[in-house]
């Protein structure tokens, strides 16, 4: 069995609410033996509640596999980059350092790297991955391209990422607001690294109030700016 081609994985970090249902559910996949193979990160908790689920992007040319000295990381015919194979993995951490997306984690106590395998035990028999099934905000979505296009008219899936001169193409797509995609068909990861997270990304957009022009103010980033301590 293999994962059907028409079913794809989409991540929309804008939808993520940081609840960890994905991480908790990952440990419930039958073959994961109680371990979660994904993680969830706050971008900058002091400044924002923005979180992002870190599932494997399943690169077409996986850097983790390329740098593995023990050849422990395999890519299946249907494009799923598997977790390290136990007898081979020497827990050197090369993949952890090399992954451009920060996906693999080393389990020091067991001397092995484990990472998301797109719930291969589920996806290869036509089920959805556990994380994307339970995700209550559907920041993780598993389905067809047609479904995602119909459900998410404001954004578009992108699966090419530029790291300086290197371009990486992945099986997993990230949903990017359409307004941004028209400018860049790929995500410039190096440039994004310098960006601060939108600290308090709530907007106090001002509409033109013709009869109250004195109340027009530039939208500020801090809704609490006027609160006295």
């Amino acid at each position: 069995m293999a994962k059907p081609d028409y079913l794809q994985f989409f991540i929309d970090p804008n939808r993520c609410i940081g609840c960890q249902a994905c991480v908790q559910a990952c440990s419930e996949c039958d073959t994961h033996r109680g371990e979660s193979m994904i993680h969830l990160e706050y971008i900058d908790r002091p400044e924002s509640v923005q979180t992002v689920p870190v599932v494997c992007m399943h690169c077409e040319q996986p850097t983790c596999a390329e740098v593995c000295p023990a050849d422990a990381i395999k890519r299946t015919g249907d494009g799923v980059v598997q977790s390290a194979r136990k007898p081979r993995c020497i827990a050197c951490g090369n993949c952890v350092v090399a992954c451009p997306f920060g996906v693999p984690e080393l389990y020091e106590d067991r001397k092995i790297m484990m990472k998301c395998d797109m719930c291969y035990d589920r996806t290869s028999v036509g089920k959805k991955p556990m994380c994307a099934t339970v995700c209550p905000s559907q920041a993780l979505f598993f389905g067809t391209r047609e479904q995602i296009e119909q459900l998410r008219p404001l954004s578009t899936p992108v699966n090419t990422f530029r790291f300086g001169n290197q371009t990486i193409t992945t099986q997993v797509h990230v949903m990017v607001p359409r307004s941004l995609v028209s400018r860049t068909p790929h995500i410039d990861v190096v440039a994004a690294m310098d960006e601060r997270p939108l600290s308090r990304a709530v907007s106090l957009k001002v509409v033109s109030m013709s009869d109250a022009p004195e109340q027009r103010q530039a939208a500020d980033g801090d809704p609490f700016a006027e609160v006295e301590v």
Partner: protein, 757 residues
């Protein structure tokens, strides 16, 4: 004798909370479940569908249930790990008696002896002090069958008026407001109506953490063009990317609604035809709003004028909308007024009773809806009937086979019940599904009351913090060990199915209640053999009431994947029997018929019209002042639930957020000299507590937030004020004056207790 029998550490050592984990068959990849049981989550009011994997009378895992229409497989972390409450080392499998000679404070006793002891103590106390010397506390996580039986048990068997439930801390402000405005207390539209609306207003609801599945509905509405307005003192995950954030100062919600309605009136963003044809009372409301000028509203609420204008314009000019609120505006001594303020906005817009035009209150507990309809509230009889209404009393007395004169009158709210214990008027207490020592405000007072009881018995599956005071503890059933119905957030009645049998001497809660009735020598009316029989009596009892379940059957619920009440067994127009009424997903539709209005209009009043109510702003009791200058607000985190009796025992959930922290803004932290992660002491007029600080920019700088799921010295309700709304009697959990300082040393508990304890 209701003092704690031994040192708390002795009780904790034996009874926990200890942590469960995935071990044994729950980890094995080779063990296949014998069957999958379709049921629902045991926690919040969303009631997500889930399939439990069962093998050898043990729940060994779960599988998403993608066919259930509300959540389609989605779950929050609590739902994912809910199965780990079963087969737990802390599970009570025998009855317990208070035993100061045991190092752990309690010793096991035979179940029959325990029932005998409970009955003889109740009989003794009632003989000595009267029937009303016994109080009963129920809960809204029980199935509707159990809540119905408990209400009947208190009134018919114990003959006491003093029963109330923990929904008093949850849904009563919304319920009272709905009753005043609509004559019926239920969310008006199914959640699916949210998608496709132009505006969604979220008033005081941390949706992402307290009702996570609702997030997907909101996000999906946004994808299709809805603007999202969020009103909250904290930038919660749904506020983060909303279109308009209203950073309201705690306790000023009614002022905000009045100010926004005033703008709508000034700009004539009103549905005059709807107001004229379908409502009464608009003039008085408009008169009240006149004083809420834009500058004054901004000054009182702390919300900038431009944001108020924007909210009024979006709300006032939309064609479709959904507004919902939760405890953020309801947990106030002004909670009913706050809720009425939102309803006034809805009625002024005319956007109700139609597709894509909805209003709803987000239910907190599993059966927050059904649990408030069938008679465990102090003033209520089944079918949402009124215990003071002679006609309602006669009908229910008839169903129960008693004389109307025998039926007690209204009792008192749960907090007042404790005041009665304090005054020595109530001497004995029976509680189930309620942990007031953690969940009621100013809980040092609650503890003193528990110590005054002559006799206290608790029914529970774990030894909750309040049950430490019990003379006898009866081992009840977990959610997956019984069957019945609950009514979820949309008003959809759903079926809870039994997955495993109770372990040891534990048994279904309804059996325990009936066993007590039998031991008291009053078994009549308490001889049900199955939850279905209780439900069938409830159907009759609810018939003709506003919450009419008479046409609901277990089969219909299973077949339709839920039935929205009212669901009739007789056509309310003609009285002709019908057996195929599918229920009422959307209330107040044009031309709809209800038994109160009898065709006069869609709302549940004799004239068929909805009521505008003047929704007055009143300052919080114990508001911030010079001495206590900071607002304290409390709430939930996503990985814990209520008083933590279940979730503080589930390892993976505890590890997600182990202990409460004091959330504060960096500007406040800088002023107080507190750094992120340092110990800080928060103090109110009731007491003080020391927790680690979490310094974040996502909260108003004049406000701190503490989650309330922990017990003892980690309980936020050591600080909260026992002020209550005059109508709903809901406590004012969401605001009181407080002061904070850097702690000189870690709290004593830090060295001896595990995080969840």
């Amino acid at each position: 004798m209701a003092e704690i029998p031994v040192d708390p550490l002795g009780i904790i050592e034996r009874f926990g909370p200890h942590l469960s984990s995935m071990t044994g068959v729950r980890l094995s990849t080779s063990v296949e479940p014998e069957r999958l049981v379709k049921t629902h989550c045991c926690f919040c009011g969303q009631q997500c569908g889930i399939q439990l994997k069962v093998r050898d009378n043990q729940v060994i895992g779960f599988e998403p249930w993608e066919d259930f229409p509300f959540n389609r497989g989605m779950l929050c972390p609590k739902g994912v790990k809910r199965y780990l409450q079963g087969s737990h080392p802390d599970r009570l499998t025998t009855a317990l008696q208070r035993d100061p000679s045991s190092p752990h404070g309690f010793s096991a006793m035979p179940y029959a002896d325990a029932i005998g002891r409970v009955a003889s103590e109740i009989a003794r106390i009632q003989q000595a002090y009267g029937a009303g010397a016994v109080g009963v506390l129920g809960g809204a996580s029980l199935t509707t069958e159990k809540t119905y039986l408990l209400g009947k048990f208190a009134r018919v068997c114990l003959k006491t008026p003093f029963i109330d439930y923990n929904g008093r801390l949850c849904m009563v402000s919304a319920g009272a407001a709905n009753k005043k405005a609509f004559g019926i207390d239920r969310t008006t539209n199914p959640w699916s109506d949210m998608v496709g609306t132009e505006v969604i207003w979220v008033a005081g609801s941390n949706v992402a953490e307290c009702s996570p599945i609702t997030t997907n509905y909101i996000w999906q509405a946004r994808e299709q063009g809805a603007k999202i307005i969020v009103q909250d003192p904290r930038i919660t995950p749904v506020a983060r990317t909303c279109d308009l954030y209203l950073p309201v100062k705690p306790g000023r919600d009614a002022a905000l609604f009045a100010g926004v309605l005033q703008i709508m009136i000034e700009r004539d963003w009103l549905d005059h035809a709807f107001i004229a044809e379908h409502t009464v009372g608009f003039e008085q409301v408009a008169e009240y709003c006149r004083e809420w000028t834009l500058p004054r509203t901004a000054d009182v609420t702390g919300v900038p004028q431009r944001a108020l204008l924007q909210a009024a314009e979006w709300w006032g000019t939309a064609k479709t909308s959904f507004l919902f609120h939760a405890r953020g505006i309801e947990h106030h001594s002004n909670g009913v007024q706050n809720s009425l303020g939102t309803i006034n906005l809805v009625l002024a817009s005319g956007r109700i009773g139609k597709p894509k035009c909805g209003y709803g209150t987000i239910v907190g507990q599993a059966n927050g809806q059904g649990g408030r309809e069938h008679g465990q509230k102090c003033d209520q009889l089944p079918g949402w009937r009124d215990i003071s209404n002679p006609e309602h009393r006669r009908y229910i007395a008839g169903v129960w086979g008693i004389d109307e004169q025998e039926l007690p009158g209204p009792g008192v709210d749960a907090y007042e019940l404790f005041r009665k214990i304090d005054r020595g008027e109530i001497k004995a207490l029976l509680s189930i599904c309620f942990n007031p020592k953690v969940s009621l405000p100013d809980n040092a007072f609650v503890t003193r009351c528990l110590e005054k009881l002559e006799f206290y018995t608790a029914i529970d599956f774990f030894l909750n913090d309040t049950a430490w005071h019990a003379d006898v503890v009866l081992p009840g059933s977990l959610h997956e060990e019984d069957e019945g119905t609950v009514t979820q957030v949309e008003g959809r009645i759903i079926k809870i199915n039994k997955a495993v049998a109770c372990p040891g001497d534990a048994r279904e809660d309804w059996r325990i209640i009936q066993d007590i009735a039998s031991a008291l020598g009053r078994p009549r009316g308490f001889t049900f053999e199955h939850p279905r029989e209780i439900f069938d009596e409830l159907r009759v009892a609810s018939k003709g009431g506003v919450a009419d379940y008479s046409g609901v059957t277990y089969e219909k619920v299973t077949q339709q994947l839920g039935v929205f009440w009212p669901c009739y067994s007789e056509d309310p127009r003609t009285g002709a029997p019908i057996d195929d009424h599918a229920g009422t997903p959307r209330l107040f539709e044009p031309g709809s018929y209800n038994p109160v209005a009898k065709g006069a209009g869609p709302f549940y009043f004799p004239d068929g019209r909805a009521r505008f109510n003047v929704a007055e702003h009143r300052l919080p009791i114990d508001d911030a002042n010079e001495e206590f200058p900071i607002y304290l607000t409390t709430g939930r985190v996503v990985s814990q639930f209520l008083s933590g009796t279940q979730t503080r025992r589930i390892g993976p959930l505890v590890r997600q957020y182990a202990e409460p922290r004091i959330e504060m803004h960096p500007r406040l932290a800088a002023k107080l000299g507190i750094a992120d992660g340092e110990w800080a002491t928060a103090e109110t007029r009731r007491g003080s507590m020391t927790l680690r600080a979490q310094v974040v920019t996502t909260i108003r700088p004049d406000t701190i937030f503490i989650p309330y799921h922990w017990a003892g010295r980690k309980s936020a309700n050591q600080l909260t004020v026992a002020a209550q709304d005059p109508i709903s009697k809901i406590p004012q959990y969401k605001v009181c004056g407080c002061r904070v300082r850097r702690a000189t040393a870690p709290p004593e508990y830090a060295a001896v207790l595990e995080p969840q304890q």
